[in-house]
Every structure is written in structure tokens, then in C-alpha cells.
């Protein structure tokens, strides 16, 4: 029931990512020990918003 990828982000950042629809496994952390910070998530969210919507995945 868990992801195999180790995500490093404090709970508050994880919550924000959920709210903004950011997939944390795809975010590069700039915080201590490479952890993802709130700013990292906001930046990723901004890029998501700027980028064109992804093509539908093949079934």
C-alpha cells in the first residue's frame, strides 16, 4: 500500500502538494538533505499550470 520511491518532504509540504496536485516523486528538493520545501512545491505547481495539459495516457 506504499510507494517504493523515498520521498523527502515534511507533512505540511506533502499536504500542500496534494492540494496543488503536485506529484512529489517528480519534484527535485532544494531543502536540507535534498528535501522538498514548500517553495519547491509551489514552483512545481506553477510550472504545471504553465505547461500544456498532458496527453491522455494510452490504456
Amino acid at each position: 500500500a506504499t510507494t517504493a520511491v523515498l520521498v523527502r518532504a515534511p507533512p505540511r509540504v506533502r499536504r500542500l502538494a496534494r492540494q496543488l496536485g503536485v506529484d512529489l516523486t517528480k519534484v527535485r528538493g532544494t531543502g536540507p538533505r535534498g528535501a522538498i520545501t514548500e517553495e519547491d512545491v509551489r514552483r512545481a505547481a506553477a510550472m504545471l499550470a504553465a505547461a500544456p495539459p498532458p496527453a491522455a495516457l494510452p490504456p
Binding site: P10, P11, R12, V13, R15, G31, P32, A35, T37, E38
Partner: protein, 325 residues
């Protein structure tokens, strides 16, 4: 309004409470003619006599147990422990009886006792005249644990402690006994137990502290503002148990960053509970780690106390760390 240092404020509080209430008695080693080694009880024996200002034989166990008996019978004893470092002989009596007699007796007996004494370091007192051992008491239900950081609070908190129906451990940071002077009203006032105070407002990081560290925190905050432009909110807990969680949570809602500064050692120091409580109940408020600036987990070293205790550099580092998040 007279200007007082903490020793004078405490002396005044004792004097006023003894005048107000015949049940208040003072006891301990050298509290009589000597007036206590820091002179907190100075002059009381002249005003109230030997039966109310009691020089005891040299045993903390005896002092505390004797005071428990007095309190159960209806007095309001204020027991001085000459240095809080010497309290351990009394630990059995404090835990089992001062803290728990109400519970053990189904509420039939209470122990309205104040155990007070100089605590904490910074005056080259060495291992046995410098300890910050509040954790042992915070972990013991039934006790209030109090530590003032200013003369004003010292007087108001000691009065509340004497009037409380529970046993109070009242810790006096001796390094600021005489270094801080401020206006202290002559009239009767109290500072309620369990309520913290915002020493200064800030928006970037919340610094929770108490006792002499409040003043260190203020210095550090200034440096952080000047050097880094960060705005530090400082909270003085004043009562360490029960601690004022609401004021801390409210501050964290603003800052999202928490640093705790205390003279007690780090491992199971009071900061451990604050950090644990926040991460248990309000972790979503945190942008990053909860940092503790505490003494190291060694006995108190006479020769290097300035490196052992929290200092400005350590606070500076801890705040810088949490500001990375």
C-alpha cells in the same frame, strides 16, 4: 513604582504573603539569620520570627517531607532548596507525596506546598550549583513547574504559587537574580500559572523559551534581524507544566517554524515534549524541523559552561536551519 531585581521581588512576594496569611511559613537551610545564600529570605526572620522562618537540619528529604506534613495539616509552606541541584534526596517525597497525595487520598488531602530554589547555570557554579532539572518534575503529574524570567513575573508567579492548592516547583534562574531590574508594583498582583507571554512579536520563526534564556533569545533575535533580516517571535513560557500550548500553536500558525531554547539538557529536556506535542497534534503547521537549542547531554561542566549552555551562536544556527525551509 519601586525598581527591583528578582531577589528583591521574590523577597517582597514572600513578605507580603506572610503578612497576608499566617499559614505561610518559610523553611530550609540557612533561610533564617543568613537570609538564604542568595538573600531571597533576607530579613524575614526579624519580621516573622523563628517559628515561621525555620532553619532546618541539613537534609532536603527532611525539608520537603516536613513541609508536606505542614501543608497537609493546612499550612502553606515555602520550602527553599539551597540549590535546586540538591533536590534529589527529596525526590521520593516529591513524587510520591507532594505530587500524589491528593490522588492517593481520593482528594481528601492536598499538599499546597511551594518548593523554590535557585536553578540553572551561567555563574561558574559547577556541576552541583548549575543544573536545570525541570524535566524530572514536568514528567511527574500533580506538580506545577514554574520559572520566571523577570522581577515582575517573579513576584506575581510566586504569589500564585503560594496561593495554589497544588504543589509547585518554583525555579529561580540565579544568573538573572540581580542582573535585571525593572518596575515592580508595590500593590498585590498575581501572574496566573499556566499562561505564557509573548515577549516580542515576529513573523518568520517562533522561539519558545523561559528563564534566563529569554534574555539570550532577545539578543539573538536582534542579531538575526540585523544580520539576516528575519523576524523572530519570542514566547516566554513562564509555567513549564502545564505549558501554554495555545499561545505556541497560535504563533506557529503565523510562522510555521519552531525553535525551542532551554538550559536543560536536550534528551528529554522540556523541549522534547513541546516538539513531540506539536508533531503529534499540529505537524501540518510546520514548514520544516523543530529545532532544539539545549545544553549538551553531559553533566554540567564548570570549565566550559559558556560552550555547554545555549548561546547566541547556537540560536543563530538553529534559526538559520529552520529558515531554510
Amino acid at each position: 513604582m519601586p525598581v527591583m531585581n528578582m531577589v528583591e521581588a521574590l523577597n517582597t512576594a514572600l513578605r507580603e504573603e506572610m503578612k497576608r496569611d499566617k499559614r505561610v511559613v518559610v523553611l530550609g537551610e540557612d533561610v533564617g539569620r543568613r537570609g538564604g545564600v542568595f538573600l531571597v529570605t533576607e530579613g524575614l526572620i526579624d519580621e516573622f520570627g523563628e517559628e515561621r522562618v525555620i532553619d532546618t537540619p541539613l537534609t532536603e528529604m527532611g525539608i520537603v517531607a516536613f513541609a508536606i506534613g505542614m501543608a497537609m495539616y493546612g499550612l502553606r509552606p515555602v520550602a527553599e532548596i539551597q540549590f535546586i541541584d540538591f533536590i534529589y534526596e527529596a525526590f521520593d517525597q516529591i513524587v510520591n507525596n507532594a505530587a500524589w497525595y491528593r490522588f492517593r487520598s481520593g482528594g481528601m488531602y492536598s499538599v499546597p506546598l511551594v518548593i523554590r530554589g535557585p536553578c540553572c547555570g551561567g555563574i561558574r557554579g559547577g556541576m552541583h550549583h548549575s543544573q536545570s532539572n525541570e524535566s524530572y518534575f514536568i514528567h511527574t503529574p500533580g506538580l506545577y513547574v514554574v520559572m520566571p524570567s523577570t522581577p515582575y513575573d517573579a513576584k506575581g508567579l510566586l504569589k500564585s504559587s503560594i496561593r495554589s492548592d497544588d504543589a509547585v516547583i518554583f525555579l529561580e534562574p540565579k544568573s538573572i537574580y540581580r542582573t535585571i531590574r525593572e518596575d515592580v508594583p508595590e500593590e498585590d498582583y498575581t501572574v496566573p500559572l499556566g499562561q505564557a507571554r509573548v515577549v516580542q512579536e515576529g513573523s518568520d520563526v517562533t522561539l519558545v523559551t523561559w528563564g534566563a534564556m529569554v534574555h539570550l533569545a532577545k539578543e539573538a533575535a536582534e542579531l538575526l534581524r540585523d544580520k539576516r533580516g528575519w523576524s523572530v517571535e519570542i514566547i516566554d513560557l513562564r509555567t513549564l507544566q502545564p505549558w501554554d500550548k495555545d499561545i505556541v500553536v497560535k504563533s506557529l500558525e503565523k510562522t510555521g517554524r519552531l525553535v525551542i531554547v532551554h538550559e536543560a539538557r536536550r534528551i528529554l529536556g522540556p523541549g522534547a515534549e513541546i516538539a513531540a506535542y506539536i508533531s503529534e497534534n499540529h505537524i501540518e503547521l510546520l514548514r520544516g524541523p523543530v529545532k532544539r537549542v539545549a545544553s549538551y547531554d553531559t553533566p554540567y561542566p564548570l570549565a566550559h559552561e559558556k560552550l555547554y549552555l545555549p548561546n547566541i551562536a547556537k540560536i543563530y544556527r538553529a534559526v538559520s536551519d529552520v529558515m531554510q525551509w
